[in-house]
Subunit: 214 residues, 2 copies
Amino acid sequence: MAIGRPRAFCTETALNAALNVFWRKGYEGASLTDLTEAMGINRPSLYAAFGNKEELFRKALDRYVNEKVSFASEALEAPTAYQVAERLLLGAAEMLTNPDHPVGCLAVRGSLTCGEESQSIRNEIAHLRSEYEANLRGRLERARDEGDLPADAQPEHLARFITTIFQGMAVQAAGGAAREALRGVAETALRAWPRAPAARHGPSADTLAVSDGD
Amino acid sequence: MAIGRPRAFCTETALNAALNVFWRKGYEGASLTDLTEAMGINRPSLYAAFGNKEELFRKALDRYVNEKVSFASEALEAPTAYQVAERLLLGAAEMLTNPDHPVGCLAVRGSLTCGEESQSIRNEIAHLRSEYEANLRGRLERARDEGDLPADAQPEHLARFITTIFQGMAVQAAGGAAREALRGVAETALRAWPRAPAARHGPSADTLAVSDGD
DNA sequence: CCACATCCCTACCAATCGGTACACAAGGGA
DNA sequence: TCCCTTGTGTACCGATTGGTAGGGATGTGG
């Protein structure tokens, strides 16, 4: 039973290259020529290894969420609701302007990709976002129940507020905004955060958890 | 001296139709076929009347800014800085979800259009945004000098904050967010607004200026 | 009625899009 | 060594992209 010719490229490396291209140019803006050139392979190899352009994007999106936006899930584990928001927004300012990869957010860019033929991509991104927003809301509800947020705080509104700020920051970053500018936005947004009257949680030294490099 | 055959369509109406198409599908996502079908004319007529696709987009963008986002310039005339922000954000929530036209923001969508060949479009949009942001900052500096904002307020940061919120709301709207949701975001953002210690300006009845229809 | 200027329309252009057919190269099992 | 399986590479597919040439239609000024 023959095994067949071994693959001449590393799928992980190629997927990383594809992720970078999608990140820079968006789903529809990235042509197969762009992708194959960056990945160092040719079309049939791409189709054999990844299915088609849409599946390739999905795999790249998975990798993006798990490797690049992991700070967002980890932020939910911060001890207080304020620190959750703080780590989320400052982490976003850092990630969105990290010089080690393209600026902006693959998902935000992808959610605005134009054509209606890529509706399924938009749906997947929308699903990811609403899933995360639900997790964040759950975390904030817990915080409210624990007295970490005022009893009249609205976790749903706060979660949507944070999400919206992130999306705005992603647009800013895609337009070339500097890291300091995004940090300023994050800090301003944090001033809208409700404090529990009993135990006030202000800006914390927890920010150290947000590294400056990648 | 002959005058020539009169144009069989109204350029204003056609431009409105083109604006709607660009608004829904983005600059690159709107094909000439989409545009000509919506405008009720054929390609050569389009090119004769508007130049080419890029010039058509610029004209549509002009109209968009002057007719649809006029609330943003008018908001600068509000009596207090807080009311400026309030009218801006609540006006945005209304405009971005107005059922009389496509949802979201043509400029935000356009600024994320993928290809590098449409760099000049992105540049124009970036210019419009930074111009507006400068106006807003100027208005806030005046407010600070008048004591309407605390002396340590940072008009530049506040202006960028407002811009970022708007962009995030535009992404939300493009994803189908409801008007109530965007209003909630606006109200949360307004809680970040600094109040002058001398004369406190809170939420005002000035919101009445924001109509509910178009 | 004629001439001229302008517009409309069909049909086309080269370039690019995502995707694939097919011949060849490269390896392991018998 | 021969075969079989799998990946690689070239060259292509039909469809669509933005943009245009050129003839016929339609109006005004003489």
